[in-house]
């Protein structure tokens, strides 16, 4: 045991070692002394850290407080914990030492000392993890339950810890298992066709607890989405714009997972969106533009009473093989004044990315630098239809799928093939929806100076909101 514990030179452990002289006398069991002897070097990994210590005196109490901040950092669950000692950071810090000993490790290490000394530690860890697991499963149930309808607002915060704990669910399996039957029912429907041969593995994954199961149903949804995008499995209930409500439902686990777990999207200002149609004009980013579907999902969750929004996709995306087809089935409409007018006439919020391909085609080093705002078509549209323009800033899309390079896309009929990560990175997203822009009285779409100044106003407002969001951001992934 002792030898296994020498996993690194944790500063915290070293501190404990310095104090070691004081410790030996106290230990009643054989256990603690051995660990001490093996050394101040040894550090029984973070997991056991602190666990054996508490039993002894108050001395051990002090070090954790001092060193705790440095402790988690090297473990690098997240990039930059120090800058903002926000509540999240605090929360993370405290759990870090505690939860790791959850069940399996606690079983191997703590049980021995507990007989008498370990009472307190044994007691404290065991209550700690279960609540977290339950929280996870509950927040899980939320998104899954609301697949069809209203967004049961899953607590936004818990998601942060859960992310750091992704490996944990295994131990906490017993409590997490309850929700699986319901989920199974839902998942099996769309899974049936997708997962023919993978039988046993699929079954285990589906019954897996918590986040893992959620991730699996997201993968199944992704498979379904890809098949729809390939044009081999079209639905039968489409509206004239090409949105397939059934497919959207089937893909919901994926969207839910990306939205609430992976990107942890936070929306601010959704109340600004008026009923009766509006143009939401946003910055555009990411090698593959996920900002459209995410903003769409944000409105669906935050403003379920509004008619379903649609986002306008530039031709290069709309007619990209697979992606364009899939986006169309999920609610993208090819960007054209005609389509937008029709959508606005139906009272829908219309999501517009005036940067178009320039926004998603800019290199990563130019992130959050707004490109040319088209030719002001959205302003003309707003003036013609008398609908308000709402500037929207989206933070996080840039880092999610950074554009690392471009390959020629000729044979596929796309301007270029983006080179990016294999999977979207879990950058933290924040969406801020601003207030409607003021329209000069009597403004006409034919007045180019008015159009230009309104384009500029929209652009600078978005830029300003972006700066605000970026300034307040603690870390790309932490948010």
């Amino acid at each position: 045991m002792g030898s296994r514990r020498v996993l690194g030179n944790d500063p915290f452990q070293r501190g404990a070692a310095e104090r070691a002289p004081a410790a030996p006398p106290v230990p009643v069991t054989a256990e603690p002394p051995t660990s001490k002897e093996v050394g101040g070097l040894k550090a029984r990994a973070d997991e056991a850290r602190g666990r054996p210590a508490p039993p002894k005196k108050g001395t051990t109490r002090a070090p954790p407080k001092r060193k705790a901040p440095t402790g988690p950092a090297p473990r690098a669950d997240v990039a930059k914990p120090p800058p903002v000692p926000s509540s999240t950071a605090d929360r993370k810090r405290t759990p870090t030492p505690l939860p790791p000993p959850p069940v399996p490790i606690a079983a191997s290490v703590v049980p021995e000392p507990p007989p008498r000394v370990g009472q307190s530690p044994a007691a404290s860890p065991s209550p700690a993890p279960p609540p977290r697991a339950e929280a996870a499963t509950e927040s899980l149930r939320g998104p899954l339950a609301d697949v069809g309808g209203e967004p049961a607002p899953a607590p936004p915060r818990p998601s942060v810890p859960t992310l750091t704990w992704t490996p944990l669910p295994e131990p906490s399996s017993p409590p997490a298992r309850q929700p699986s039957p319901e989920r199974e029912r839902e998942a099996s429907v769309e899974a049936r066709d997708a997962s023919a041969g993978a039988g046993a593995l699929v079954e285990t994954l589906r019954q897996a607890p918590g986040v893992l199961a959620e991730a699996w149903s997201a993968i199944e949804a992704a498979i379904r989405a890809i098949r729809a995008g390939l044009g081999t499995a079209g639905g039968e209930q489409l509206d004239v714009y090409g949105r397939d409500a059934r497919l959207s439902e089937a893909v919901a686990p994926l969207v839910d997972f990306l939205y609430s777990r992976w990107f942890r999207v936070e929306v601010d200002g959704a109340a600004n969106v008026p009923a009766g149609g509006a143009l939401l004009v946003a910055n555009h980013a990411g090698a593959l533009p996920l900002d459209g579907p995410m903003l769409h999902e944000a409105l669906r969750r935050e403003r379920p009473e509004l008619p379903e929004a649609r986002w306008l996709a530039e031709d290069q995306v709309f007619y990209a093989p697979l992606l364009g087809t899939l986006f169309n089935r999920l609610g993208a409409v090819r960007a054209s004044p005609d389509s937008a007018t029709r959508l606005l006439g139906e009272g829908r919020p219309v999501l517009i990315f005036p940067e178009g391909i320039q926004g998603i085609g800019k290199p990563f080093r130019d992130r959050y630098r707004l490109q040319r705002f088209g030719r002001g078509g959205f302003v003309k549209l707003a003036l013609r239809t008398r609908k308000p323009i709402l500037p929207v800033a989206i933070m996080g899309a840039e880092e999610t799928l950074p554009l690392l390079g471009k390959l020629p896309g000729g044979p596929l009929g796309v301007p270029y093939l983006p080179v990016t990560g294999p999977l979207p990175l879990p950058a933290k997203w924040r969406i801020r929806i601003g207030e409607p822009l003021a329209v000069p009285p009597g403004a006409k779409e034919t007045d180019s100076s008015v159009v230009e100044s309104m384009v500029e106003a929209t652009r600078s407002t978005i830029e300003h909101m972006l700066r605000g969001l970026l300034g307040a951001r603690g870390g790309v992934f932490l948010g």
């Binding site: 995008g229 390939l230 039968e236 714009y241 054209s336």
Partner: protein, 317 residues
């Protein structure tokens, strides 16, 4: 119109054996109000109250033939249905029949004093293009499909009809742009496409299609007997389907090919003389071409009994 009382309908049809002709003729002959039916076509058709004139619309002197026949037995309504629906007997012949034939027919109709002309067209004349709006209205430009004989001729016919409408405001003209007409009996490029055992499509694309069931198409043509409204109308299903779903409903399977492969194969087959399908026709498998049927619904009262799903499924038999 005075057609309401007794046997008062005097109707003429060009191309009674064409796709729409074959669809319309039996119902028209069964129409109790029919007083006189005049047909013009290369193959004879028979029926009560029917006078058939054997004409070849590609002949240079066909115009006077048509005119004298129409003057002998005056008609109120002329269905100009003489368009090819099968595989072509050569592009030059097809062009003569469809484009020049329409020219002759319209000129003869004016001189013989026909009051109203009905001409079927197709929504393919809009072209399947990246720039298409969500719903193509009747005023959308007709881009057609460069390279496709079938579509190009229809676009040219449409141009002539437009000119005719401008030059002869006194003659009513109804142009019906049909979405692919599908059904158990019709035979046209659309039904042939959906009756293949493996239907080639483009991998990564699943454009939106519309269709009209043959019953609904016939119903609308007949409806014009009573209420011949001038204008151009999209005759389409209210709903749309992705191509892959239509193929599945039609009882076959899609064969998705990567677009470059599909184009290459088609080019090879064409140059080998096995097929004569222009590569540009693949655009209809690539981009959506969805037409807005609102005008036909509100103005003509077109209410299809069958949706696009039923239309696609009707190809099966």
């Amino acid at each position: 119109m005075g057609q309401q009382r007794g046997r008062s309908l005097r109707v003429a049809i060009t191309g009674p054996t064409s796709e729409f002709g074959a669809l319309l003729l039996p119902k028209l002959l069964a129409e109790p109000r029919l007083a006189q039916l005049v047909t013009f076509g290369p193959r004879p058709v028979t029926g009560a109250r029917l006078v058939h004139h054997r004409v070849d619309l590609t002949r240079w002197d066909v115009e006077s033939e048509l005119e004298s026949a129409l003057s002998e037995t005056p008609v109120d309504l002329l269905y100009h249905l003489a368009f090819l629906h099968g595989r072509t007997r050569g592009a030059a012949f097809a062009h003569e029949l469809e484009v020049i034939g329409t020219l002759h027919t319209l000129a003869a109709a004016v001189r013989a004093g026909v009051r109203h002309v009905v001409v079927p067209s197709t929504t393919t004349v809009y072209g399947a293009r990246a720039g298409n709006p969500v719903l193509l209205s009747e005023s959308a430009p007709l881009h057609g499909c460069p390279g496709s004989r079938f579509v190009t001729d229809r676009v040219e016919v449409e141009r002539q009809l437009e000119t005719f409408r401008r030059d002869h405001p006194g003659v009513g003209l109804t142009v019906l742009r049909f979405a692919p007409v599908l059904g158990p009996t019709v035979d046209n490029p659309g039904t042939r496409y959906f009756r293949r055992p493996l239907v080639p499509t483009l991998l990564g694309f699943d454009p939106l299609w519309q269709a009209v069931h043959e019953e609904d198409a016939r119903e609308l043509l007949l409806r014009l007997l009573d209420a011949p409204v001038s204008g151009t109308f999209n005759v389409v299903s209210e709903d749309v389907l992705p191509l892959s779903s239509m193929i599945r409903l039609a009882g076959t399977r899609p064969l998705p090919l990567p677009p470059p492969v599909a184009r290459g194969m088609l080019r090879a087959l064409n140059s080998a003389g096995i097929t004569a399908t222009p590569g540009t026709l693949l655009d209809y498998l690539h981009y959506s071409w969805v037409a807005d049927g609102t005008r036909a619904r509100t103005t003509l009262g077109f209410q299809p009994r069958f949706g696009v799903r039923e239309a696609a499924a009707s190809v099966r038999s």
